[in-house]
Amino acid sequence: MAEPNGATSGPMRVSVENDRDAIDRTESEILLRLESLGYPKASIFAIKLAMEEAITNAFKHGHAEVEGDPPVIVEYSLDDTEVVIRIEDLGPGFDVDKIPDPTLDENLTVPSGRGLMLIRSYMTSVAHNDKGNRVELVYRKPRGDRVG
């Protein structure tokens, strides 16, 4: 993906181990590049949160019954208008429509089930493949902060 200002990249493909340092390194790599492209603090917060939730979901739920604790694949491309991050696990997938709404009164005291809802709240768009083992997060940089 080429851009006039030359500040672009992707797609990059990273195999991320289920390890805090490995996850932090991948997230930092993406966030630092976004900061250099002028994404504002609020955008960095949003993307960091969504990435963290998606990667956590991939390991915790996607790989819940996968032997051997394998890595997840993070693929990303970014420029000064948008970032696209795809996270894929090796698990059997799931039905995204079966997740209860955590904002309902009866679910407020349930400790789990908020990850996907947060991802959808902060990203411009979120899409799963049919199987449910790959999620694509798209975040468009707010208009006032675009250079081109």
């Binding site: 805090r20 603090k41 939730e53 407020l108 349930v110 789990s112 908020r114 990850g115 947060l118």
Partner: protein, 109 residues
């Protein structure tokens, strides 16, 4: 514990992300809850820049335990971005959140 009988907790890490870490935090706070008959617990987010849904889950568990013991929980010093997470998840309806630890301390019955 301060002179109002309130136990104040602050986080050391700026990012409350890692599940193992969150579990350890939850266990420590649970011990504090268990040590009091009707715990008055104040959690300050003064040093927190990021948190995850797992951290929210632990806070809910803490809240549930405090309520079971007839205690009170307050959250304070939450910056605007983190507060937005509580609003999006409607957890601002579940937790009593104050701007500062001073105001939170005054609010305990």
């Amino acid at each position: 514990m301060n002179e109002a009988g309130v136990t104040c907790v602050e986080f050391i890490d700026r990012n409350i992300l890692d599940e193992a870490n969150i579990q350890a935090i939850g266990d420590e706070i649970s011990e504090l809850i268990d040590s009091e008959a009707e715990p008055k617990l104040l959690i300050s987010f003064r040093n927190v820049d990021h948190l995850s849904s797992a951290a929210l889950g632990t806070l809910i568990t803490i809240n549930n335990r405090v309520k079971e013991k007839g205690g009170q929980l307050r959250l304070a010093d939450i910056d605007a971005q983190i507060y937005e997470v509580f609003v999006i998840t409607r957890l601002n309806r579940l937790f009593e959140i104050h701007e500062t630890t001073e105001k939170a301390t005054e609010s305990f019955g």
